[in-house]
């Protein structure tokens, strides 16, 4: 029996979440005495997945799949799952995985649980722990169908090395024109910027920054840390920052290792979106700001003084530690 994992790549290179879901799949495989098969699309260095416990890689090389297409990818993954007799399919929490997983669920008549934060509680019944109520709670959810789909929360499980020899085989799913009926016409990505979804560190600014012209300071800090930038809802509502940066209950969830909140009050809707982050640092001039109650470290101070100092200090720290 095998556990199938969908490993995402960009320009042929595996994304970090691919290694995380492979690590997760290996943990499931160990619990079920199974092995891990990965499916990748136009990826090079497929063997490298062996580092994370993958013993077989089905690589789809197909020019029509250079751009992500949810329906076609889901069809290919479903075909691979059937071919391998996979009982569990593991995907990430990227926007693309969350797009294709429900389609895959319908194709495989499989139950799907997203936002999973730990290896399964049990495999008979198959039960996983996931976040619910916008990170204000956890649910332990049993999947009752024959095939199960698990969506792993970003940075929740981490990378776990488990060196295995990975064999690589070409895999050519049967695709039809119909599978491309949702057609991508343009992809607009900010080149060279870390996205919130992939980021290990996120630097986030709120209304306390007073205006978009002050974001240079935030970007500089993010640069030093190799971090993504984010913001609170009013900041994106006022158009100071793009909507895609808005984090919180109605924005993006952030599950970073380090979340720096600058000039953000810490309203319940904002906290809901960041509580899955491991270490939270708050910089705010109001010692009563509710965010301090949810933080690990806090500095009471004016962002316009503290942030440039912090950036300088981190530059020094980097220079010393590299």
């Amino acid at each position: 029996m095998s556990i199938l994992v969908y490993t995402e790549s960009e320009n042929g290179k595996f994304k970090k979440n691919a290694l995380e879901v492979a690590s997760y799949a290996k943990a499931v495989a160990d619990q079920m005495a199974a092995s891990v098969t990965a499916i990748s699309f136009n990826a090079s260095e497929n063997e490298s997945l062996g580092t994370y416990g993958v013993s077989k890689v089905l690589n789809v090389s197909n020019d029509t799949l250079k751009t992500f297409n949810a329906e076609a990818y889901a069809k290919a993954i479903a075909e691979a799952a059937e071919k391998e007799g996979a009982k569990v399919v593991v995907v990430s929490s990227s926007a693309n995985s969350k797009f294709l997983a429900p389609i895959l669920a319908a194709k495989l008549k499989a139950g799907y649980v997203p936002n999973v934060v730990e290896a399964p509680d049990s495999t008979e019944p198959f039960k996983v722990k996931r976040t619910a109520f916008s990170n204000k709670g956890f649910a332990h959810t049993a999947i009752k169908t024959d095939i199960k789909i698990v969506g792993v929360s970003t940075n929740a499980f981490g990378l776990k090395e488990d060196q295995t020899d990975a064999s690589v085989a070409d895999f050519s799913p049967e695709l039809k024109e119909d599978d491309f009926s949702v057609e991508s016409v343009e992809v607009d990505k900010v080149a060279g910027k870390v996205s919130i979804a992939d980021a290990e560190i996120v630097v986030s600014g709120g209304r306390g920054l007073k205006g978009p012209e002050n974001w240079e300071m935030i970007e500089e800090l993010a640069d030093v840390l190799g971090a993504a930038t984010a913001c609170s809802k009013p900041v994106s509502d006022m158009g100071w920052r793009p909507h895609a940066e808005h984090v919180g209950q109605t924005g993006k969830p952030v599950a970073a290792n380090l979340y720096l909140a600058i000039g953000i009050s810490g309203a319940i809707q904002h906290l809901a979106g960041v509580s899955a982050s491991k270490t939270k640092v708050v910089i705010n001039n109001d010692p009563e700001a509710p965010f301090f109650k949810a933080a690990d470290y806090g500095i009471v101070g004016d962002a316009f003084e503290v942030v440039p100092k912090l950036t300088e200090k981190l530059k020094e720290f980097k220079a010393e530690n590299e």
């Binding site: 797009f99 997983a101 194709k107 990505k189």
Partner: protein, 246 residues
């Protein structure tokens, strides 16, 4: 054009989350229920199509009688009629199965759902529904234009956005961005009065798979005390040596 907006009735965003019955059920006492924010953006976009291009807008909800105030609010915002499937929405697969039946019967050209509901965060109903019916599907939709039977949608992707084209019938998983927040409609007195007269049809559930079951719930461990720090030197030191995140 005939549009169905799928509405999920969810705890208001400020709700305190608690569980009862030995942590097996969500505690609804004292909780105010509202239209799921992601669905609200979709509903307003549907109203835009109704006003600008002429469309009939129906809403559908899977839930017991308690969800009707939320549905009335959606009708007061301007939807023409509502359909309630009288069943507890046990999981996304089951809900999609119920809605599929409604979409089949109603022959909708466009089905608007939310990217996810903010309570169980399943994020699967629109996608499963589309697949069950063989309809096109676009998730995390932040822009939608329709001309004839052709749709152009913008969807949010990690680190940017993507423009896609697809023919109707189409299902979208919508979110903030579909309309401006300032354009979200608040029911006015006239809307509320009119909503009282609009049809809210109750139908029995059909057989559908329940694929998952929430067996129990728990809450995140209470947070330890925040460590207040005087200087950035101290902060960098703590982040490196204690939290080990840099």
């Amino acid at each position: 054009m005939k549009i169905l907006v799928c509405i999920s009735s969810v705890p208001d965003t400020t709700s305190k989350i608690n569980f009862t019955d030995g942590d097996t059920k969500f505690d609804t006492s004292g909780v105010q229920f509202v239209i799921n924010p992601n669905d609200e953006f979709g509903l307003t976009r549907a109203m835009w199509f109704k006003e600008k291009q002429g469309a009939a807008v129906h809403i559908a909800t899977v839930g017991e009688a308690g969800v009707e105030p939320t549905m009335r609010k959606a009708l007061a915002i301007g939807a023409d009629e509502g359909i309630r499937v009288n069943a507890v929405p046990t999981d996304g697969y089951f809900v999609a199965g119920q809605l599929a039946e409604i979409v089949k019967k109603g022959e909708y050209d466009l089905v608007i759902g939310g990217r996810e509901s903010i309570d169980y965060n399943g994020g699967m109903v629109p996608g499963i529904l589309a697949s069950m019916l063989g309809m096109n599907f676009v998730n995390t939709c932040i822009g939608l234009e329709i001309e004839g039977d052709k749709a152009t949608a913008i969807r949010e992707i990690d680190g940017g956005k993507e423009t896609v084209k697809a023919d109707l019938p189409l299902v979208i998983g919508g979110q903030k961005g579909l309309v401006e927040e300032s354009d979200l409609k608040i029911p006015n007195m006239r809307g509320i009065m009119m909503a009282r007269k609009k049809a809210l049809n109750v139908v029995d559930p059909v057989d559908a798979t329940q694929a998952t079951e929430d067996v129990s719930f728990d809450k995140p461990a209470p947070k330890g005390q925040v460590k207040m720090v005087e200087s950035v030197d101290e902060l960098v030191d703590l982040l490196h040596n204690e939290a080990k995140v840099i």
